[in-house]
């Protein structure tokens, strides 16, 4: 086994899309926060408070383990061309002042010849990482643990045999091991400062004091013991292309291949017990030009007929931009299907009629033209409704509100015949638009109008109408 290890020291920042020099990412344990990426003049592990006093311009953000995992997984997928198996790990020590280690291993023994030697492989890999703007240090060693240790220390070593490994490990500080600090302190308390000091101890006495697990970890580091771990498998993707025999300019003639693709996807989804939330249809024209459509579904489903219907509606909306040579269908977003468990037969894959009606309207009118209004908890009438609601925060409001709320209040030249106790609304100071208004319902010019008087300027506006 020959392992190439990549260590990504800036992954916490890169995963969040931060690239300013004063951007830093912090880890938190209880109330304490510290930096896990370096910033100018501030080292990794510095408590946030100290870091801010050293570097006042610092912008610190909490880390997102989820984003880091996703980024590392993406990287793993790209690295398939360099060898396999591939392992990834985010080593989280969760100890005050220590940074997580984002590591990726590629077994390269088999692929070295393919690339024409280590240097060529390394250069290709480094070029690709640089293009993708990921900072990484790498090292090669016969054990995963050792390659990770060298990579994390920034020693770009490439070792093939165990004897050399042993020699290079011996002078390394024990403190560099990614082990719990308590364990490292124990070694330190006995004056055991170098890995060589540990290697020199009698094995039985070592295991007796530090446990056999520690001894095994040491053996793994030296390449004397296997390092079992789960390898990354390539992600499931649906990606089908249908080459047409001729260039086709009529939508009708595309329907057959379209149906075929839709049901291919249905079969693929069923095999995985998944549903699809959005698909992308690409029409390939001459000279590699492409037209792409993305379609979203109200629920995750795997109904081939529904897929086909929706795709057809979309294609019929406008004439083709150019004759089509091939069709591609991609399942962009899959999820567990919202299909009731007891349904066994074909019918079962259908969702509600309402959802399908909406989908058809949306396909015809466009993605942004159709939306569902939901009440939103805000005292300001113009903000009391939104396109999507916050399901955690249901709004209940029982004041009279007009059916038609004007997008913008219309200033009134004359004072309307307002009387009685107004509904007073004073709210919104926190978002720049503090409203201080007295609202009245008036019968005016043969209409029932909702008018208000602005309390600061005492001017009148029309804000809504009842039928």
């Amino acid at each position: 086994m020959l392992w190439l290890c990549l260590h990504f020291p800036h992954l916490p920042a890169e995963a969040l899309g931060l690239d300013g020099p004063f951007d830093a990412v912090t880890e938190q344990h209880g109330a304490r926060r510290w930096l896990i990426t370096a910033a100018p003049g501030v080292a990794v592990g510095t408590p946030l408070g100290t870091a801010l006093s050293l570097q006042p311009q610092l912008r610190a953000r909490p880390r997102s383990v989820k984003a880091e995992r996703a980024a590392l997984r993406q990287l793993a997928h790209t690295c398939y061309r360099y060898g396999s198996p591939i392992h990834i790990e985010i080593r989280d020590l969760a100890e005050l002042g220590r940074a997580p280690q984002a590591l990726l291993w590629i077994e390269i023994a088999a692929s070295l010849r393919l690339f024409g030697g280590y240097v060529a492989l390394r250069d290709a890999l480094c070029t690709e990482l640089a293009e993708r703007a990921y900072a990484a240090s790498l090292a090669v060693a016969p054990s995963r643990a050792a390659s990770a240790l060298f990579a994390s220390l920034g020693q770009p070593i490439a070792l093939r045999d165990r004897a050399a490994l042993e020699r290079r490990l011996a002078p390394l500080p024990v403190a560099a091991l990614p082990w719990p600090r308590m364990q490292l302190d124990v070694f330190d308390g006995m004056g055991l400062r170098r890995l060589g000091d540990l290697f020199a101890l009698p094995r039985a006495a070592f295991a007796r004091r530090f446990g056999s697990a520690t001894l095994s970890a040491l053996d793994q580091l030296r390449g004397r013991l296997a390092e079992p771990a789960e390898a990354i498998v390539p992600p499931p993707v649906f990606h089908r292309r249908f080459e047409l025999a001729d260039e086709i300019a009529q939508v009708e003639a595309l329907l057959f291949p379209l149906r075929r693709l839709a049901f291919d996807l249905q079969g693929w989804l069923r095999a995985r017990d998944a549903g699809v939330r959005s698909v992308r249809l690409v029409c390939v024209h001459a000279q590699r030009r492409r037209t792409a459509f993305t379609l979203h579904f109200g629920d995750a489903h795997r109904d081939g007929a529904r897929l086909f219907e929706t795709l057809r509606e979309r294609l019929m909306r406008a004439p083709l931009a150019a004759p089509v040579r091939a069709l591609e269908l991609h399942a962009d977003e899959t999820a567990a299907a919202d299909v009731p468990q007891h349904d066994l037969f074909d019918d079962a894959d259908r969702g509600g009629d309402w959802t399908r009606a909406i989908e058809r309207i949306t396909a015809r009118l466009g993605e942004t033209a159709v939306w569902t209004p939901v009440p939103h908890a805000d005292h300001r009438p113009e903000r009391a409704m939104r396109r999507t609601g916050d399901p955690r925060d249901p709004a209940a409001h029982d004041r009279p509100r007009p059916l038609w709320l004007l997008k913008k209040p219309v200033p009134l030249p004359v004072r309307p015949p307002a009387a009685g106790t107004p509904e007073r609304i004073e709210s919104g100071w926190w978002s720049g638009g503090d409203r201080r208004r007295d609202y009245y319902v008036v019968e005016w010019q043969r209409a029932r109008a909702w008018v208000f008087c602005e309390r600061d300027s005492e001017s009148w506006f029309l804000h809504g109408l009842w039928a």
Binding site: T421, W430, D438
Partner: protein, 1049 residues
């Protein structure tokens, strides 16, 4: 316009309904008065915490003879099933009932919350007017339930807030009124005194719901109508009969908070005695103890005078209560001593409450009690901090939980908490809030906030930041309360159940209960408070005396350590001489850097000198500019003059302190003799000084004082100076009596340091944490005093440090296991107990017999306490761990172990490990190991500075032990560096702090160069400072050493 209707607001919550109200009680009351309301009821949610404050404007108005509105007492009660009603106390009995109900609800829940069930108030709220507040659910059921129980004193509250449903609400409440035959009454559900507090009120709502304002939606009120509205406005909203009804309710509620009737507990009086005769009896009984040769007639006269005054005020039970607590402590051999103004009383001295002999000090009984003032005397007693809990439990046991509780402390908004809370509500990122709050914490002036913000990269001019700062500013400037906490030791004891006087709630500590009022509230209402305080030095003194007793040689009684006169008694003289040389590390009150730099100049040689010394190095006198005039006059460099010459009445006041006011009493006396204040007015001035933050009433005195002094022909400049001194005193000035009490302890501890140094340092270390210095400096000082200090060793050390005999038979200190970090008290005691059987044979024996875990063994090895078995700490660790893995199945198996010999640590490693494990080392000082490097950098050992001429340019270096930035020093910072020869104090001016902020704030080992400032003599001791000009951070030289500096701000 028709004639204005009269109105009384019956439902108003203040900021003491935490996270709801957005105005202080005083603001509500004053605004209601200004608007022409007849009355206002403060009805905080299940609380009386704001009741006394709401009464303050009434009191001030009465003092200045203005008419003022009535302030009614009540509370909004929210039941667990949604029922809400406002209860207003009609009578004393009604108030007691309400307090009982609140207490019950509060005690049924955790600190800060309450749980009120209908069953709890089943018919219990008689004597109260009840306003039912409809909330939309189960209204009929609620109303029927209340109607059945309180048919005669129930109203339906109509609260109209222009929310668009006022008309509907009024109509359906009218229907209820007809159906149940109940009257309707108008009320406002007031949450703020003016509509402009709307934003703050929204912030409070947001905090209550733990979400930002923007996501609060309908949890916010739709408008600002819940403020105190103008009468005309109310008139346009409410039918006149509803407004008129408010007055009917207000008239029924005749109870005012000042009517709270407090009675002293009675069990402290002996059988067959009245409190008066019993107090006299106790005083007579104790007189021979204080004056074995017979009481001097002068003192007896004073006693008679005091007793007469006490009897006139009826305060005997108070004195008896305190005397009883002190007696208990004496019986238990807990050292205690009264402090504060009580030390002005000869009766207190006779009873053993205080220790200052009235013959030797100018006591001012008026400061303590006066015939004119209608205020309770204040007696604070310090107890050993380690045993105060025994005293507290005694009080609880004696009076019962019904009758004794601890006073509250109102935790108010400070810059940090206000920014944090408002920031949370405005969704300002936690990181920005942190950054701003943190940059404030160290030393900046909140007034420079905007500037600080720019420095940390936040633009204070964006609307959101402006709102953030403005709202936080309102909270800080208005001294808004954030929550109630527990006072350090102020007990309230009453004759009847306490919860009839004031609601009692749970504290965060189990088995503690606190009342809802703080000490100012208690003072306003005249409730007895006994301060059971903790003082570390008393614990340390007791430990020192016990150590001497156990050691045999040199044992001495606490009372026997006394000042026998400088020059008359050799021991006394030697003690003062040591103090004058500023060798006072560890001595009570006079050990700080500021105190030590003053000692060689003031050269105290008597108890009174020490009293002045204790009082003068305080923020008050320093800010008032008293220190240097006093010094110059005392050294004879400046004549002592009085504005009106030697006949000036001020002379009598200031003569004893060389014409400079140093004590609180003197400020009061000046106000009396120079500005014509009466004794009670002068005391009011003192109280205003102490509480100016709370009400800002000091300014009222400025003009009065100036006018009074002008009338008596004192210059305006002199008057201004006196006022500045008064302001400077604030709450920081010491009363003379208090300083005298502390001076006594300072003398006793100094005596022990001079004559029993081993016991002194040993006791001090055992009483840690306390005082100014870390243990390492105390131990270094002990060694400098010639005491042998021996390392911690499992074969010899107890938990505490103890005295052993050195080769010459003198006392040496054996350090105790308590210094080993991470070792529990229990483990140390197990070791002590197991060793008492027989000495340990080896590590296995130790581990087995003291039942030590692997971790505990490791900790002992870290501290190098296993030396006798292993030789050095590395080997000790190896052996200790070899023991561990056989705790379970193989417990008795004796498996062979390979012999491994590890290399010994070098000296540097040992020193670092010592510091890590015990924060001190008996090996060489880290700076000694670095000496070659320091010499290359031309750095002088600190001890050599004495030989260098004043004004020379020097380089110094060492471990940073202290950083201080006192408020009185205009931004200057003091840094103390320690090397193997001693310490050096650096003065760091603000420009240098800004230039080298990182190093100054964060460095652990610093080199500095600067100019030497030096005063004094070889005999009298030196005051040496170095004015730093540049720093070099060499913290990496001691990497691995723990952070040792104690930073004070």
């Amino acid at each position: 316009m028709t004639r204005m209707t009269a109105y009384a607001e019956l439902h108003a919550v203040s900021a003491f309904s935490f996270q709801r109200g957005a105005s202080m009680p005083q603001e509500l009351v004053e605004t209601a008065h200004a608007l022409g309301y007849r009355a206002l009821a403060l009805t905080d949610e299940c609380s009386m915490a704001g009741a006394v404050r709401a009464h303050e404007p009434v009191k001030h108005a009465r003092e200045s003879g203005r008419p003022f509105i009535d302030v009614l007492v009540g509370s909004e009660l929210n039941f667990d099933d949604g029922l809400r009603c406002v209860a207003l106390a009609e009578t004393q009995a009604g108030y007691a009932n309400l307090c009982r109900a609140i207490t019950q609800a509060r005690r049924a829940s955790v600190k800060g919350a309450y749980r009120l069930r209908r069953a709890d108030v089943e018919g219990a709220l008689t004597g109260c007017s009840l306003l039912w507040v409809p909330r939309g659910d189960c209204e009929l059921d609620e109303l029927a339930w209340l109607r059945e129980r309180y048919p005669q004193n129930l109203w339906i509250a109509v609260e109209l807030h222009r929310d668009g449903r006022d008309a509907d609400r009024l109509a359906h409440l009218r229907e209820y009124a007809a159906r149940f035959g109940l009257p309707l009454v108008a009320s406002g559900d007031v949450h703020m005194h003016v509509a402009q507090r709307r934003a703050l009120q929204d912030v409070m709502t947001a905090l209550r719901h733990h979400r930002p304002v923007a996501r609060c939606g309908h949890r916010l009120f739709p408008n600002a109508e819940r403020h105190l509205r103008a009468l005309a406005d109310l008139q346009s909203l409410y039918p006149p009969e509803l407004l008129a009804e408010t007055l009917c309710v207000a008239e029924r509620c005749t109870f005012r908070i000042e009517q709270v009737k407090y009675r002293y507990p009675r069990e402290v009086v002996g059988a067959g005695h009245t409190p008066t005769s019993w107090l006299r009896h106790l005083v007579e009984q104790r007189m021979p103890v204080r004056w074995p040769q017979g009481c001097p007639p002068q003192v007896r006269k004073t006693i008679d005078k005091e007793l007469a005054l006490i009897a006139q005020k009826g305060h005997e039970p108070f004195f008896l209560t305190v005397a009883d607590i002190v007696d208990f402590a004496r019986r238990r051999k807990i050292l205690c001593q009264g402090r504060g103004s009580a030390a002005n009383s000869v009766v207190c001295y006779t009873l053993g409450i205080t220790e200052v002999n009235p013959e030797r000090n100018e006591l001012l009984f008026e400061r303590f009690m006066s015939a004119e003032r209608d205020e309770e005397p204040d007696i604070d007693v310090d107890f050993e901090h380690e045993r105060r809990e025994e005293v507290i439990q005694y009080v609880f046991d004696k009076y019962g939980r019904e009758r004794a509780a601890i006073a509250a402390t109102v935790i108010g908004y400070r810059a940090r908490s206000a920014l944090r809370d408002v920031g949370r509500a405005l969704d300002i990122g936690e990181e920005v809030v942190d950054r701003v709050a943190r940059s404030l914490a160290w030393w900046d002036d909140p007034a420079r906030l905007a500037e600080r913000l720019r420095v940390v990269g936040v633009d204070p001019d964006t609307p959101r930041m402006r709102q953030w700062l403005a709202l936080a500013g309102t909270l800080i400037e208005g001294s808004f309360p954030r929550h109630l906490s527990q006072h350090v030791g102020g007990f309230v004891i009453s004759d009847g159940p306490l919860h009839e006087l004031v609601p009692v709630e749970n504290a965060s500590m189990p088995a503690r209960t606190v009342i809802q009022w703080d000490k100012d509230d208690l003072e306003t209402l005249g409730l007895l408070k006994v301060d059971v305080l903790a003082l570390g030095m008393l614990s340390a003194l007791r430990r020192m005396l016990e150590l001497l007793h156990a050691f045999g040689d040199g044992a001495i009684e606490y009372e026997a350590i006394r000042d026998h006169g400088y020059g008359e008694d050799a021991a006394t003289t030697a003690t003062y001489d040591m103090v004058c040389r500023a060798e006072t590390i560890g001595v009570f009150q006079i050990e700080s850097r500021a105190q030590m730099s003053m000692l060689p100049r003031l050269r105290p040689k008597s108890m009174y000198d020490l009293t002045v010394q204790v009082a003068i190095v305080r923020p008050g006198p320093i800010q008032g500019g008293m220190v240097h005039p006093y010094l110059r006059r005392r050294m004879g460099l400046e004549p002592i003059e009085y504005p009106k010459g030697d006949g000036d009445p001020i002379r009598r006041v200031l003569e004893r302190t060389s014409g400079v006011p140093i004590f609180q009493e003197q400020v009061m006396q000046i106000a009396m003799v120079a500005a014509g204040f009466s004794a009670s007015r002068a005391d009011a001035l003192r109280r205003a000084m102490a509480a100016w933050k709370r009400n800002g009433h000091v300014d009222r005195f400025r003009e009065e004082l100036k006018a009074g002094m002008k009338a008596r022909h004192y210059s305006e400049e002199f008057a201004a100076r006196i006022f500045r001194q008064i302001e400077g005193f604030g709450s920081y000035g010491f009363p003379e009596s208090h300083a005298a009490s502390f001076a006594l302890l300072a003398y006793k501890s100094a005596w022990l340091k001079r004559h029993r140094p081993a016991a002194f340092f040993c006791g001090l270390v055992n009483a840690q944490p306390m005082g100014f210095y870390p243990v390492s400096m105390l131990i270094a000082e002990a060694q400098r005093s010639g005491v042998e200090v021996r390392a911690i060793d499992v074969q010899h050390s107890d938990r505490d440090c103890r005295l052993e005999r050195d080769v010459q038979g003198r006392a040496a200190i054996r350090l105790g296991l308590r210094l080993v970090r991470g070792l529990s008290v229990d483990a140390a005691q197990r070791i002590e107990a197991a060793r008492a059987q027989r000495a340990f044979a080896d590590i296995d024996d130790l581990a087995r017999r003291a039942a030590l875990s692997a971790r505990e063994l490791g900790v002992l090895a870290d501290a190098d306490t296993l030396r006798p078995f292993a030789g050095h700490r590395f080997q000790a660790h190896w052996q200790a761990r070899g023991h561990e893995h056989f705790d379970d199945v193989l417990a008795n198996a004796n498996l062979p172990d390979e012999g491994v010999v590890l290399a010994a640590p070098n000296e540097g490693e040992d020193v670092l490990a010592d510091y890590r494990s015990t924060h001190l080392s008996l090996r060489r000082h880290p700076a000694a190991l670095l000496r070659p490097r320091l010499e290359r950098a031309r750095v002088l050992p600190n001890a050599r500075l004495q030989e260098i001429a004043d004004g020379s340019h020097v380089r110094v270096g060492g471990i940073v032990m202290f950083r201080q930035r006192p408020g009185s020093a205009n931004g200057t910072m003091f840094i103390t560096l320690e090397d193997e020869t001693g310490i050096v104090n650096l003065i760091v001016r603000p420009p240098l702090i800004d230039a080298q902020r990182e190093t100054v704030v964060g460095g652990r080992f610093l080199l500095a160069h600067g100019s030497l400032q030096k005063q004094g003599s070889d005999e009298g001791g030196w005051i040496i400072h170095v004015i730093a000009e540049e720093f070099a951070d060499r913290s990496h030289w001691i990497a691995g050493l723990p952070h040792l500096s104690r930073d004070f701000h």
